[in-house]
Symmetry: C2
Subunit: 191 residues, 2 copies
DNA sequence: CGTTCAGTTGACTAAGGTCAATTCCCGTGG
DNA sequence: CCACGGGAATTGACCTTAGTCAACTGAACG
């Protein structure tokens, strides 16, 4: 809960009363590695804040999974594409480490928006963040080779490279594990 | 101006006075085919609404351009990645037909947000729309082959296929014009 | 020890990229 | 009205790179 409050205070200004309210609006949720926060076909009904742990977003495409995104402690998780229009999600969100979350329901999020002075701003900032980073990633698909995307991933998340198995990273980069293995070999040889 | 008001009324409820205010906040802008609404390196200072015409978003990557997106009459144009944080844009927005816009400055958009009852909601809806469609596109890069992306483009924008040169479509799909030409040939053969 | 699964490696295939030549289309000017 | 020029699109030959299939290695764990 401390990390959540800290992150919120970093984004907006809140009073002591507002802090107390926020603590009431969020509920803790503990997931084991492999558990799902959201499964394909369900409607996403909560926004989560990761206190500790690691999660991945993925789609199923006739059998093989495509990893879209990772999110770790300090980040929010939500499939806005399902949450906003209240439609069944076409992506899943799964813990890939034991993960401690603070989650807020749609109803409580509405309260947060209306009862916290800068609540709307907080919502906007949280969404803008996801928005900008997904556009970044889209651009990378246009600009960068798989090898370059892999290296950018290493630069951006050096810690995650240690925590995430290679076949998930390969999927995130948009290639097969075999190809990533070959790219890695090549990168070592060039260095 | 009529199309803009119609689009806004479709998204939110506005009073007659609010309609008058909105008409004051937007200014017309006429672009010739080839003209830029936003050039790389500039800060995006306006949101535009396309009354009539067609625009494309593109990046430069050592010489060759990558087309990220098209927007036509009835749509909004803005590089939020530059507009929101007021940073120099790394993408350009160019008219590829003679295009009539209604544009609103950041200051006037602030007034729209604060002086129109559902102004914030309008802003949120406009951004959500761009947000959801760019995630859609990102997912397509994971799931779909270039041939499939081309066909999805044709389905989604049958009219645009007639208005946009193939080399721009190829770039949007993420391949070279030669490859798109071969894919087209193959699709005809299969049909 | 044997099982399991991630990761690597090899041989081959498929598909897009590259370079270059050619054709097509369309507008312009003689 | 026709000839020419220029850019778009197509085509061919070849290259590069990721995918596929399958075998193998290595580490973790019971």
């Amino acid at each position: 809960m401390d990390k959540l409050i800290g992150t919120i205070k970093y984004l907006i200004r809140i009073s002591e009363n507002e802090e107390i309210l926020i603590k009431k609006l969020f509920k803790p949720l503990q997931l084991k590695s492999g558990d799902y926060f959201l499964e394909e076909g369900q409607v996403c009904r909560h926004v989560g804040f990761i206190e500790q742990g690691l999660m991945r977003y993925h789609m199923n495409n006739d059998g093989n999974q495509k990893t879209l995104y990772f999110s770790k402690e300090g980040g929010f998780v939500c499939n806005y594409q399902s949450f906003l229009p209240r439609e069944p999600s076409n992506t899943s969100i799964q813990a890939i480490e034991d993960t401690a979350l603070q989650i807020i329901s749609r109803e409580n999020l509405q309260r947060l928006y209306s009862e916290i002075a800068e609540g709307e701003k907080l919502g906007r900032l949280a969404i803008e963040d996801v928005f900008l980073s997904s556009i970044q990633q889209l651009k990378s698909f246009y600009k960068d080779s798989p090898a370059a995307r892999y290296q950018l991933f290493l630069q951006a998340y050096p810690d995650l490279a240690q925590r995430i198995p290679q076949y998930h990273i390969a999927s995130y980069v948009g290639i097969k594990p075999q190809s990533l293995s070959r790219i890695r070999k090549k990168l070592v040889a060039e260095r």
